[in-house]
């Protein structure tokens, strides 16, 4: 896979955008020269040659920008296609809240546009040829002025760039806060309405939004100030070069064409640098996108068919925990709410990093049932079989065994909605259990779902687990587990 950020412009994957950027730099310089010549032709009364040259310049510019757009679009499409193919493998572990999946979509688009920066950099590099043009047409003094001011601009710009990076990261932090908060408010809108707190939510979002804007305005101010520096220097440079060539004109040393070429070349030179500078912030975006699209390797050992914890410490459990779950074991993890049962289960699954110690889990055949797990949009059959070949009779039989036998569960082609609308929590959890059993899971990890069942259902589910003695089950529960006769008990204390 190609690197996402444009680290080396001559790396193989970057050669094409580099070449195009350089080509466009040289072409726009050439067009500027032709444009200057055209204007001088016009000034000398050669209307037809001047006008045609001008038309040529305009058409050339139009063509070039169309060409670049076309190229950029092609490259973006290609890299998007490659990046999107990577997506499923990025989802195998739950992503933290601030890296929500919609951010993933953002990252894909950012990363795909990363070679825009490479192109602009090459463009800026190529426009340095402009210094030669200034020398030839405007003389050594003009060159000296342009070069000196360019050298002055670079460190000033870098300094301003560093300052704006600091502010930009502050802005990014506030932006993330705002997004998360607003999403929370919207996702809990009925809850807020039920408490008469909608106005509170709106006020709070207003405040978060204002804070974000202050940070943004600060970052923009610095970014603009830094571009002000280059703009100012470019203005001074164009002005001084114009003054030098103007005196040359007066003294008759220079022709109008050469004078104009010197001025236009100076303007092109600084224009290319400015364009690169303006898009510079994309480097941060590209880096952030790359971080989102790379997954840290999983440290959990994946082998065999057992779950094993070796002196594991989690964020909620400082006491090292050692545990070996053999096939067919029934383990209950208990403790008061908030003690870290869910954290422990998710550490076993490799979804959370253990702070210390070693975790081993089977590579596959593990069914996870959490109260918050959602169903997939699609038919009931799709949810239960996950596309594998299981006959309807055995599916219906299993549903019946778990007490899912009402009219709503007879028709397996009935559509389900991803939020489980039309299903109670207890029903949804049993569908997930049935799905795991149909997928021949050897191990079940159950996170405190017994409270979602009424007594009759609890009895049915218990029975369904008891008649499958080969299943390994790890269950977390405050004090009412489904497993009444566990082979192993882990008591977590706060």
């Amino acid at each position: 896979m190609a690197p996402l950020s444009p680290s080396n412009p001559f790396a193989r994957s970057n050669l094409l955008p580099t070449a195009l950027g350089a080509l466009s730099g040289v072409t726009s310089l050439a067009l500027a020269i032709v444009g200057a010549w055209a204007l001088s032709e016009l000034a000398h009364g050669h209307l037809s040659s001047g006008a045609w040259a001008l038309v040529g310049v305009l058409a050339g510019r139009g063509l070039m920008s169309m060409l670049i757009e076309e190229f950029a679009a092609k490259r973006t499409t290609r890299s998007l296609r490659l990046l999107r193919r990577r997506v499923p493998s990025l989802l195998v572990r739950p992503r933290p809240m601030h890296e929500a999946q919609s951010d993933l979509a953002w990252a894909l688009e950012q990363a795909a546009g990363a070679d825009e920066l490479t192109r602009l950099r090459a463009n800026a590099g190529a426009s340095m040829i402009g210094l030669g043009v200034i020398f030839v047409s405007g003389g050594a003094l003009a060159l000296g002025i342009a070069a000196a001011l360019l050298l002055l601009a670079v460190p000033l710009y870098q300094r301003a760039g560093r300052r704006s990076e600091v502010l930009a990261s502050e802005y990014q932090r506030r932006r993330t806060q705002l997004e998360e908060r607003q999403l929370q408010v919207l996702r809990h809108a009925p809850e807020l309405r039920g408490l008469g707190a909608v106005e509170y939510g709106a006020r709070e979002i207003g405040a978060y939004s204002d804070r974000e804007h202050q940070a943004a305005l600060g970052a923009i101010r610095v970014a603009l100030q830094s571009s002000l520096v280059t703009e100012f220097i470019s203005g001074v440079s164009i002005g001084l070069v114009a003054m030098v060539v103007g005196f040359g004109l007066l003294e008759g040393r220079l022709s109008l064409a050469r004078a104009l070429i010197a001025v236009f070349a100076t303007s092109e030179l600084f224009g290319a640098i400015r364009r690169y500078g303006v898009e510079f912030h994309r480097r941060d975006d590209a880096a952030r996108a790359e971080a989102l699209l790379t997954m840290a390797p999983e440290r959990t050992k994946i082998e065999g068919s057992i779950v094993e914890l070796n002196a594991v410490v989690t964020s909620t459990n400082a006491e090292p925990l050692t545990l070996r779950v053999e096939p067919g074991d029934r383990v209950v993890v208990s403790g008061p709410s908030g003690v870290g049962k869910t954290t422990l289960l998710e550490t076993m699954l490799g979804w959370r990093e253990a702070l210390a110690g070693e975790v081993t889990r089977p590579s596959t055949g593990v069914g996870v049932i959490q109260p918050t797990t959602r169903v997939l949009s699609g038919t009931l059959r799709e949810n239960l079989t996950l596309g594998s070949d299981v006959d309807d009779a055995s599916v219906t039989a299993l549903l019946g065994e778990l007490g899912l036998d009402g009219e709503r569960f007879i028709d397996l082609s009935r559509p389900l909605l991803p939020d489980g609308r039309g299903l109670s929590d207890g029903e949804r959890v049993r569908i997930l259990l049935a799905r795991a059993l149909l997928a021949d899971a050897q191990t079940l990890v159950i996170d405190d779902v017994a409270g979602l069942f009424d007594e009759a259902t609890r009895v049915l589910v218990r029975r369904a687990l008891e008649v499958r003695p080969s299943l390994t089950i790890i269950e977390a529960s405050v004090d009412r587990p489904l497993l009444t006769r566990p082979t192993l008990r882990v008591e977590l204390a706060s």
């Binding site: 444009g35 000034a43 009364g45 209307l47 001008l54 310049v57 305009l58 058409a59 920008s65 076309e70 679009a73 999107r84 499923p88 989802l91 195998v92 739950p94 929500a100 919609s102 999403l183 919207l186 809108a189 009925p190 309405r193 039920g194 707190a197 909608v198 509170y200 006020r203 939004s209 204002d210 923009i220 603009l224 002000l228 100012f232 203005g235 002005g239 114009a242 103007g246 007066l250 109008l256 104009l260 008061p336 709410s337 908030g338 596959t364 593990v366 069914g367 996870v368 996950l386 009402g406 939020d419 039309g422 299903l423 207890g426 799905r435 997928a439 409270g451 009424d454 007594e455 004090d479």
Partner: protein
């Protein structure tokens, strides 16, 4: 579809201060004119000094060029800052608008939106609206102004009898180019909608798979995620390539418009050379201006697509107006509740006198939560009525109703921030909140920060939030899920001590035993 009226509505909704708007427009116009003046003026003056030498004139000319060149950067700075400020003020207003609208939706409507990524999308759409000022209206107004001024200048400077011919020619070419851009853009609006739909379908699938894939991978069914993602991905790619084709046309219009304006120079043999050079430089500027207009139109298309979607939040149902009644016996009369076309409850009647506790029992999926939402006035009923005193709950004014009735859903969330903020949500008595929290076994300091609360802790904080305003009635959905037996008992003790009417749905026999009366909902055949 009415593209421009949608945009006008949103501009009005942003309610910018006249001063901010005026300063943004003025700054923009001055910066743009200075830019144009620099290009055209510098070229003209150089040409003039070449043909009419005179040291003094040239010196003056060069000083003027220098001054404009120096002034250009601060002017642009002012322009950007004022446009950003305008955009940010507007977006804050829109964000508050969005929260208030979504917060006023009935539960079933909200649920329909919460599916997929309508809510996530609304954030991006609101953000994008900021571009309405920044990339749309302000540069559009400035560019049009520059074109008008430029045309006028060319006409005024035209040193021969047919000045109006030149002006007319430029105006016609520019109008045709702008018209063509507008036409192409309007067509792009349609493609943009398709692209948006495809993008949000892809995002929605990504969101769904983001939650489901870890489980699928552990079950050994990761390939199912790839299979599901394939179709929305294909649709997105197709929509993207169609939208790209539309951009090609507008790029072509810009190039053509710029090149055609040079024709104003053709066949003007008696024109002064200076004038010819100035017009030629202006032609270069026209092409830049058309490019800017193209970007403005594209920004407006993007903004209006988002604005259209946000407007779907606009139509909340009829609001109740009646005042809170003097006595507050809760009555359900001959209630029928329907969800997704399925009748859950039919002909249900009961009453809860002030201070009494009613339990709602029944198997999973039987409609307990739906009933509770109807009692709290969060959703409509299919038949019958919920009344408080003698007033239908849906006829009560929202503010009064929420001050007296508190509702807690079965999976409460929204608990992240300073403990006392979370526990009061800006209402009620902070001291009482602290007492209730500690009575429920959650000890907090005033500045403790809630993050990652467990289910049991969340359940208790949610109850405190409901009690803290001193309501007359609390409606609780599974308040003891995730709690142990001790914690449950403690919660019931606190609840009993508040003397409020309680309606509670639960599986927990301890909770149901605590109630004065229990309604059991039956599974319907």
């Amino acid at each position: 579809m009415n593209f421009s009226s949608t945009l006008r509505r949103w501009l009005a909704r942003a309610r910018p201060s006249k001063r901010a708007l005026l300063s943004a427009l003025t700054n923009g116009a001055v910066a743009t004119i200075a830019n144009l003046g620099l290009l055209v003026g510098a070229v003209g003056l150089l040409a003039d000094s070449a043909t009419r030498p005179g040291l003094r004139a040239v010196a003056v000319a060069l000083v003027v060029i220098e001054l404009v060149a120096f002034a250009r950067s601060p002017l642009r700075f002012l322009e950007r800052m004022s446009a950003h400020r305008l955009g940010y003020d507007a977006v804050s207003t829109w964000r508050r608008w969005l929260v208030a609208r979504v917060g006023g939706l009935d539960y079933s409507r909200w649920r329909a939106y919460a599916l997929g990524d309508v809510l996530e999308r609304s954030l991006r759409d609101t953000d994008e609206l900021q571009m309405l000022w920044l990339r749309g209206v302000i540069p559009l107004a400035d560019t049009v102004l520059v074109l008008v001024l430029g045309d006028a200048l060319v006409a005024v400077l035209a040193p021969f009898a047919h000045w109006w011919l030149v002006a007319a020619q430029l105006i016609i070419i520019q109008s045709i180019a702008v018209g063509a851009l507008w036409f192409v853009t309007r067509d792009a609006l349609r493609r943009d909608r398709t692209l948006r739909r495809a993008r949000s379908a892809y995002r929605a699938e990504l969101l769904e798979l983001g939650a489901a894939t870890p489980t699928l991978a552990l079950l050994g069914r990761l390939e199912r995620a790839s299979e599901r993602l394939a179709a929305p991905q294909k649709a997105l790619q197709d929509a993207e390539s169609r939208a790209r084709r539309a951009r090609r046309y507008s790029g072509f219009v810009v190039a053509l418009g710029g090149a055609l304006s040079v024709s104003a120079l053709v066949d003007r043999p008696r024109a002064a050379l200076l004038w010819t050079v100035v017009v030629a430089a202006y032609c270069l500027a026209v092409m830049e201006a058309l490019g800017t207009l193209r970007l403005c139109f594209e920004a407006l298309v993007a903004v209006s697509g988002g604005a259209e979607r946000l407007e779907s939040f606009e139509h909340a149902g009829p609001a109740g107006r009646l005042a809170w009644p003097t006595h507050c016996t809760l009555r359900a009369e001959d209630l029928t509740l329907v969800e997704d076309g399925r009748t859950l409850v039919e002909g249900l009647s009961f009453r809860v006198e002030p201070g009494r506790h009613l339990g709602v029992a029944g198997a999973s999926g039987v409609g307990k939560s739906t009933l509770l939402r109807a009692l709290a006035g969060l959703d409509d009923v299919a038949h019958g009525a919920v009344t408080l005193g003698d007033v239908r709950v849906r006829d009560l004014a929202e503010a009064g109703l929420r001050a007296h009735v508190a509702y807690v859903p079965s999976e409460p969330g929204f608990a992240h921030g300073y403990a006392l903020d979370v526990a009061t949500l800006g209402r009620g008595d902070a001291k009482l909140a602290g007492e209730l929290l500690s009575a429920l076994g959650i000890e907090v300091a005033a500045d403790s920060w809630f993050e990652d609360l467990s289910r049991g802790e969340l359940a208790r904080v949610a109850l405190v939030r409901a009690l803290v305003t001193g309501p007359d009635l609390v409606v609780l959905d599974e308040p003891t899920a995730g709690l142990g037996a001790d914690e449950t008992r403690r919660l019931l003790r606190v609840l009993a001590g508040r003397g409020v009417s309680v309606v509670v749905a639960s599986h927990d026999l301890e909770v149901l035993g605590w109630c004065d009366e229990v309604v059991t909902l039956e599974v319907r055949a």
